[in-house]
Symmetry: C2
Subunit: 250 residues, 2 copies
Amino acid sequence: MNGSLVIAGLGPGNDALITPEVHAALERATDIVGYIPYVERVAARPGLTLHPSDNRVEIDRSRHALEMASEGKHVVVVSSGDPGVFAMASAVFEAVENGDAHWRDLDIHVLPGITAMLAASAACGAPLGHDFCAINLSDNLKPWVLIEKRLRLAAEADFAMAFYNPRSKSRPQGFVKALETLKNTCGDARPMIFARNVTRPDQTIRIVPLNDTTPDMADMRTVVLLGSSQTRIITRNGAPFVYTPRSVLT
Amino acid sequence: MNGSLVIAGLGPGNDALITPEVHAALERATDIVGYIPYVERVAARPGLTLHPSDNRVEIDRSRHALEMASEGKHVVVVSSGDPGVFAMASAVFEAVENGDAHWRDLDIHVLPGITAMLAASAACGAPLGHDFCAINLSDNLKPWVLIEKRLRLAAEADFAMAFYNPRSKSRPQGFVKALETLKNTCGDARPMIFARNVTRPDQTIRIVPLNDTTPDMADMRTVVLLGSSQTRIITRNGAPFVYTPRSVLT
């Protein structure tokens, strides 16, 4: 019996954003592996075993999934958003590279999903409508000096920016420093967007001029976007639209 | 009668990547507006009028969609991929900002889709698994000097990179210059991925060391990815996996 391993993106939270391709993979699965709240999004059914695990065990979780796939099971590793953006796909491939040689020849596929920054951008207009970058602000797996360097260079390149994992209880100071760096390098009132629980019933979107932002505006359920110098706000009744134009004037 | 305007992403090509949210919007629509090949992806039905238009008329197309929405129609503007990434959402908001004052108060929503770089990344592993940027290489709407500056700074920041619209018949020299800049600034053999017609039946994925790339490897149906200095290749029977690890060693 040939097993398989699919690393699938469940999108940002609303089930109406899960692709039919991912739904089909979940229906074929014998085993679901992932962080507890993501596995909870998959409906139980006969013949399906759920393997929820705690956060920060990505490599162990990946090895477990690979072992089950080599035993002939049809395993789906679930991620929030897109599995290729600061999520489980890299962890699985790292486990493959450093694991049993025959894992390399397993049937492994990544199924993309709607990543949080695109859902957040859509929720307020099109702030990522021009060149942009995505930076994970967690320094659990990389040195802070590299994050700061990327923030400075991204500002110099005048990218719109998306920030994942902006602020956790165990890392309260990182986002303080990130905002300081951005205020110093951008030096203007371009809009910053705090999108919390995006696409869920309790979604909140706050649009705040960079100069007026404070660190407590973000937590781990928030994806943060920052416009480029070209980003514009359209005032109106109700929430404004924010967008970055397609043209850059010379 | 209150009209509405939805700007919806059809994903990279395979209909199994269209979200249920977008399907529902297409079912409610009275009018579909978009570039000819994207409108062709929407099935005709009684009560639905299709308005295909040529490329490079984004603002005219947006104004037409806004006019119909103000007349009470339920208009869906379709984009390939995600409408907020180098696509129609920015064009619509630009038309709103510069158009009739009452357009600002229309019921306008953006529905995200799977953008090409995420589908391309998934197709070969997880090359965008760490910090990355997305750059549109077309200089139709911005000066080449800005593109070149962004390429240099993105290389200095050691981002993985995704390039949209790499090379068209009317702009054959841009990608020549882009490759030259990248070879000079990166100066190594990191993998470049040419994903053509990604998720379609005729999908092709080529993985080529940056130093060995040539401009003819890309056209307008290709999204191009470039690994960071950390990106790794897992050799195996069949196509290799490419991924960027979650950790950066200090």
